[in-house]
């Protein structure tokens, strides 16, 4: 007889990057959405299964206790904000706008809503996206003197960046580029960013998202799909 366990798979080679979802002195938690093979393997692990873990890498969202802060999260982009909200010294100054397609109960939304002002929007069909973009626009305008933090899918980030620019708001974005080494060595995860100064004429350089990011000031980077800087 020939036997072949399905576990004889050609498993992914690289590790996968995730944000810290919760941290205690004894445990570290991740909030993981199954997106493909690697996350499916992670989701299927038995309790106690061994893992190789390294990090944390790079930087984190700015914490400005005195400043009204708007969190914009799309889908699993909400993951890093649970710990952010919990450790923020002035959660009363925080507001969250969360957009998703699956039911909101699938996400750690309530946790944040228990600490900070929060609202959510579920995209159910065509046309909803325009309503959501209008909502984002209103909120960004309301926080144009505060701080805005965003994490989510690429089209979401492009929209948020455009709206923030229109309203002259300060915006930080967390990028989710594909990563191989996760230590800044392979140059596979780079994004175009201004290395110093901020004059529009200055050339962009390719910097590692894994160690120089993942969080960037939106006006310092060029997103994939964005029209060239003018």
């Amino acid at each position: 007889m020939m036997l072949r366990p399905r576990a004889f798979a050609l498993e992914p080679l690289w590790a996968r990057p995730f944000s810290i979802y919760a941290l205690t002195p004894k445990t570290i938690s991740f909030f993981i959405q199954v997106a493909g093979r690697g996350t499916a393997v992670l989701a299927g692990l038995e309790p106690g299964a061994p893992l190789t873990v390294w990090g944390p890498l790079g930087n984190a969202f700015a914490v400005e206790p005195e400043v009204r802060t708007l969190i914009l999260a799309g889908g699993v982009g909400i993951a890093p904000f649970a710990a952010y909200a919990k450790s923020h010294p002035e959660p009363s100054r925080l507001s969250l706008v969360f957009g998703c397609r699956p039911p909101v109960a699938a996400y750690p939304y309530k946790e944040i809503a228990g600490i900070a002002a929060a609202e959510h929007f579920r995209e159910r069909g065509p046309g909803d996206i325009e309503t959501f973009i209008a909502l984002l626009g209103e909120r960004i305008r309301a926080f144009r003197d505060g701080l805005i933090l965003a994490c989510g899918p690429q089209p979401f980030l492009l929209t948020v960046k455009r709206l923030a620019r229109e309203h002259g708001a300060r915006l930080q974005i967390s990028l989710e580029n594909r990563m191989a080494c996760g230590v800044g060595a392979c140059l596979g995860c780079v994004t175009k960013a201004k290395v110093a100064g901020d004059s529009p004429e200055q050339a962009f350089a390719n910097v590692q998202v894994c160690t120089k990011g993942p969080v960037f000031w939106a006006d310092q980077i060029h997103l994939e799909g964005e029209e060239p800087w003018t």
Binding site: L10, P12, W14, T52, A185, C186, L187, T191, N206
Partner: protein
Amino acid sequence: MDLSVSFAGLTLKNPLLTASGTFGYGLEFVDYGDLRELGGIVVKGTSLTPRQGNPMPRVAETPAGMLNAIGLQNPGVETFLTDYLPRLPWRETAVIVNIYACDAAEFGELAGILAVEEGVAALEVNISCPNVKAGGIAFGQDPLMAAQVTEAVKKRAGNKPVIVKLSPNVTDIAALARACEVAGADALSLINTVSGMAVDVRRRKPRLANVIGGLSGPAIKPVALRCLHQARGAVKIPLIGMGGIASAEDVLEFILVGAHAVQIGTANFLRPDMSFRIARELPGACACFCVDSWESFRGSLIVEKG
């Protein structure tokens, strides 16, 4: 057993080097191990002037391997010498500089700059730049061009050993190896990545912005061992083997086929302490496989048929 090796004017405390482009400047890995545990570090491909590299995406996973088309992003040789080299423990661990240029004259110029640097143990010549005049075929795919580059570097490299790094994307790697030996190479490194491609059916696009990239990782280990075996049969100069090494046993496979040293590349991405782990596991693996000395083990593969 004594793990050190000496060849081509280099003395390494063990035969483990890290492969160019996969270990940055070593400094990215100091949180995960002590660089002095390694025989040496081959730094990212370095050119005369800074290069921004290729557009994104630049990397893609493949079965047991990966593709890359980084495009040799690097800050240029001057920044390397002022900002990186002084921070490396080059007295204790060999620092080998992988150099890249698109014509023989520029290669010579780079060699001349590095020849006078005390911290540089050797030069590794990356001849995979496509030669536009020769219809896009890379220097490393033509024995004549490879020899020209080797000579140009050798002439300006002073007393630094010159290691030429061969590409597997050729009909006859033995011919390339011989051409570089005759042109004066002190050693050969092999292999660079295997030319490959991946596509995304959903978006109907290549997975790399550059379309074609270099395949590396365990998937190519059989290609690497075959190239090493063929080069071993063709030249007398020492060989540095690489391609898919991910364990101490893999290291021994390459030495068995005839390598003086090896390089660990893509495996560094499986876990950042990989090279250090392999360095620590090597003595045990030697004992387990009855390896008493590199001299007696190296190239001791029993081949009944050529």
